[in-house]
Symmetry: C2
Subunit: 574 residues, 2 copies
């Protein structure tokens, strides 16, 4: 039973699910659905897909996640960055707007789903950890800028394909004279109103006497107000006839369920893009889920999260949807609206299904420029310039990875951006650990302590050279250590004993082991002994399995003090 | 002057160069040259190039390295693995045997040279450190097997293109019936004699009364004996007329010096292959150089080594040669033969130039099967199965990288092999450090020491949870730590304070910093404080630059004991 519960987290909360929970969840789902409908349409538009697909992606995935996901609060569905990544990936395999383009988006969803489940099943959530925080932050900031700029075409009422800034920006400048003024006016007004609602509505409402939480919740429904108002205005004045782009007819009813045909070749072709979409989606989602879980002293299981999101994506593709993940803003709204369990997702799914069956005609006059305005305002809140400044102040290595990611996203697109980021952060980490702090140490007079000769006034014996390497010894710094020892010994002709003080070493890999053997042999050929001191337990356990200890020209000492004493006594016998 | 010497290491040893040195170096150069001539021809054959190119690659590079290299002993020239890599790379851009093929090999040499100088100039020798020892060892073992098998065609007297085992092995089986019996007999006899000479000649000579060093030196000239004898036999019996392949006419004289034309496109096309060739060559070379330097209490400068090898490669391309690097066997012979300074290389170059000008006709009857036999026997000594066993015993992670490299070289060739190896060893290191040892610790009764609760009988307070993470905190394990803290806190409902004991932490990157802030915030939202204890100096210096300390819900304590005392006193005020 315990095992089944591990794979089906829903069984745990369903056991205590009661009436109070039902009413709380139904109420929350109403609020969430009102937000989700325009968001779904907008993100489908952002992905360059038929708008109905946004709604399809907001039904089954919510139910699948409720059953398999481990977060009690996370609201899944289409989100901005993942939608843009889907559009970018699909555009490199098919012509935007074509049937193949739609098919590729659906395939990306199922392949992402399978990939996430695979990672979860093999407990390889580790791969997501390769995205460092500065890289994610830079990636999201840059993606938000790309999204906002790519949406300008809807605000200007012109048509430009793709998201790559190198193409979009020149095209915007060239076509700016052909902008459609009424569309532009509507778009800019919407942006202004949305910004006002986002930043001031809560304050105004609080002043009007609303409770803080209610005010904050209402202010988050700002986009809905703008969507409804603008739809009414366009409809009333028939503004679509003067050229304002509207959503138009959305097909009614749920699509027939079918798993897309998958060939091995297709999977291999789309896998890299699907994997990037999956990992970015997972990383965004898991940090949101973790924040909420902590508030309730719950914990989420990252591998189960992978499976939950995987199932959500497969469910999305089953119903002709595109890749989904857990979104921050909707999760906040759901939480604030009092959602108790993932059943909120199930209720939202039912509500969206109802909307899709009965109310699609209501979306007919919804202006595309307004959808774009909601996207622009939503993504601009993702731009985090303070993070760039903070990372710069804290770590230059992390800054290189972050700025590299931002530049790569802006100039070469999201996929190059994310891979550049991962590559740079790994390289910077290797670089950092491959240039370890190596101190020559001496004895603090009258104590058994040993400290850096450059910082402290310590005793040093001419015949003994003691080095302390403050880093794991592994392939990227093994040769650095060889060079350093060789250089120091070449400088000091009277040295007869070298001690490596291992207090800060948590691991020694096979390369470093070879290097230690090489150092020992080389020193021995110059009649110098190599000793080790203060080796940590787990490291010593490993060394005992190797040949190093046998071949070591010197000894292994428990403490640095013992090492020095013993060497001095042997060299100058009393 | 000091600065000029740094860039021109020759200035240092030239200052004290005297008559004794001259005679020692001339003698050593004679021995080296006798070995180098057949080796140069053999490795040019291995690379699929005109045999004269082997000699071209053994003149100017030796002089260039003598001037710019930092090792006093290293003998540069064509070596087996690099020659095969050159052949493999050239074959993927041009038809073997064509003029373009030769041109590509020369281009690879100049691009490698420029790449090495660039790395040296920018002090980026670091990149070579990304090749872990197990990966290099596996790469060389697998390459040796590939080389040996690819040379079987010359032993069988059949013709097969390329080195890829997937093609060579089936072709060998299919053509085995068409093998040329006299060639096969000659080849197998040569291999047998070479193996005998390698393993027993020294013993026999010692028994005959030779000094050990002389015996060892003579045994290394075994290939020369076989080459001379077989050439005499083929010439005397005119065996070339019955179909035994011979070297034939080698063009006399030195080629006119010219730098190959380089276009940007060509450089970009060949750069990946040239970079791999360079790095493999550098890594092989630098470890040889370092071993010799240590014997004489000298040290080599890896960045100057890059420049020295870079110049050698550019010099090689200038004279229509192919990529070269420092070789182990010739360096040993040179050292054993009493070489005092890099002038040995200059004398060898002069001797080879003389051979090229006056004695090429002597090589006419040299059988190709014998050259192949020398290659096979030479490379089989590179196969190091014990290393595989040792690494397996020491570290499973390193074994994965090593075996992955071997498999990739055998099945997909050298370039895929080396990149797979680098990728795997980085991934394994990240995997290892991303699964740190995290211990819950408690106080050893009556002391100020804190130990793992699972290994020691220690005191734990119900309200305090102390974790010790034995690893640097960085992006690949930041989320692991978040999960672990969340899971432990969820298990222990009475915890009010979490202490992170930082004794083993040498760095905290920006991701881990974010994670610590997130952990602090999340714990605070559950009314739990996060404290740090025993933070190392340099780590604390960095943390002070960040916002963490300000936002931390708890305090930073110098020692773990202080932390516990202070928390207990606050919680239960006396």
């Amino acid at each position: 039973m315990k095992n089944v519960e591990k794979w089906l987290p829903a069984l745990v909360w369903l056991r205590t699910y009661n009436k109070t929970d039902v009413s709380a969840d139904v109420l929350a789902s109403l609020v969430v659905t009102i937000m989700l409908i325009p968001q779904s349409l907008a993100y489908a538009m952002l992905a360059g897909l038929p708008l109905s697909m946004g709604l399809y992606a907001s039904i089954l995935p919510l139910i699948a996640y409720a059953v398999f996901g481990s977060s009690r609060t996370l609201a899944v569905g289409p989100v901005a960055v993942v939608s843009m990544m889907t559009g970018t990936a699909a555009a490199s395999f098919a012509i935007p707007g074509s049937e193949e383009y739609v098919a590729v988006a659906i395939l990306l969803s199922v392949i992402s789903g399978l990939f996430l489940i695979l990672l979860g099943g093999l407990k390889l959530g580790f791969f997501a950890n390769l995205l460092s925080h500065p890289v994610i932050s830079g990636f999201i900031t840059a993606s938000a800028i790309v999204i906002a700029i790519s949406q300008m075409k809807h605000i200007l009422g012109i048509s430009i394909e793709g998201h790559a800034l190198m193409e979009v920006i020149p095209a915007l400048f060239m076509q700016i004279t052909t902008a459609h003024l009424p569309t532009f006016t509507l778009g800019v007004t919407s942006i202004t109103v949305l910004l006002f609602l986002r930043f001031y509505l809560a304050t105004v409402l609080i002043r009007l006497g609303f409770a803080k939480q209610t005010a904050s919740l209402l202010s988050k429904t700002g986009p809905v107000i703008v969507v409804i108002l603008s739809t009414l205005i366009v409809s009333f004045f028939a503004l679509d006839t003067i050229g304002i782009g509207v959503v138009g007819s959305v097909p009614t009813g749920f699509p027939s369920l079918q798993l897309p045909d998958l060939s091995y070749d297709q999977v291999m072709l789309l896998l890299p893009s699907a994997a990037l979409i999956s990992i970015v989606g997972f990383v965004e989602s898991v940090s949101v889920a973790q924040s909420f879980a902590a508030k309730q002293r719950q914990s989420i299981n990252p591998n189960q999260e992978l499976i939950g999101l995987g199932c959500a994506n497969i469910a999305s593709s089953l119903s002709s949807g595109f890749p989904v993940t857990g979104g921050f803003s909707r999760s906040v709204v759901s939480f604030d609206a009092g959602a108790k369990t993932p059943m909120t997702g199930v209720f939202s799914a039912i509500l969206i299904l109802m909307a899709l069956t009965f109310f699609t005609s209501l979306f007919y006059f919804l202006p595309k420029a307004v959808l774009s305005a909601t996207i622009i305002v939503a993504v601009l809140s993702l731009v985090d310039l303070k993070a760039i400044k903070d990372v710069w102040g804290y770590s230059k290595h992390d800054s290189v990875a972050m700025i590299g990611t931002i530049m790569a996203v802006l100039f070469y697109g999201v996929e190059v951006g994310i891979t550049t980021g991962v590559g740079l952060s790994i390289l910077m980490f290797l670089w950092h650990t491959s240039h370890p702090h190596i101190a020559v140490v001496g004895q603090v007079t009258g104590t058994e302590h040993f400290r850096n000769v450059e910082r402290f006034n310590v005793e040093v014996h001419e015949s003994i050279l003691t080095l302390r390497v403050d880093e794991n010894l592994y392939f990227a710094n093994a040769r650095v250590m060889e060079d350093k020892v060789a250089a120091l010994v070449a400088e000091k002709p009277n040295v007869t004993d070298v001690i490596l003080m291992c207090t800060a070493i948590n691991m020694i890999d096979a390369s470093a082991l070879d290097s230690l053997e090489a150092i020992s042999d080389r020193l021995q050929s110059a009649n110098i002994k190599l000793h080790l001191s203060e080796v940590k337990g787990p490291v010593m356990d490993k060394l005992k399995e190797s040949d190093l200890i046998k071949h070591l020209s010197g000894n292994v000492y428990l403490t640095q003090y013992q090492a020095v004493q013993s060497i001095l006594n042997n060299t100058h016998p009393t």
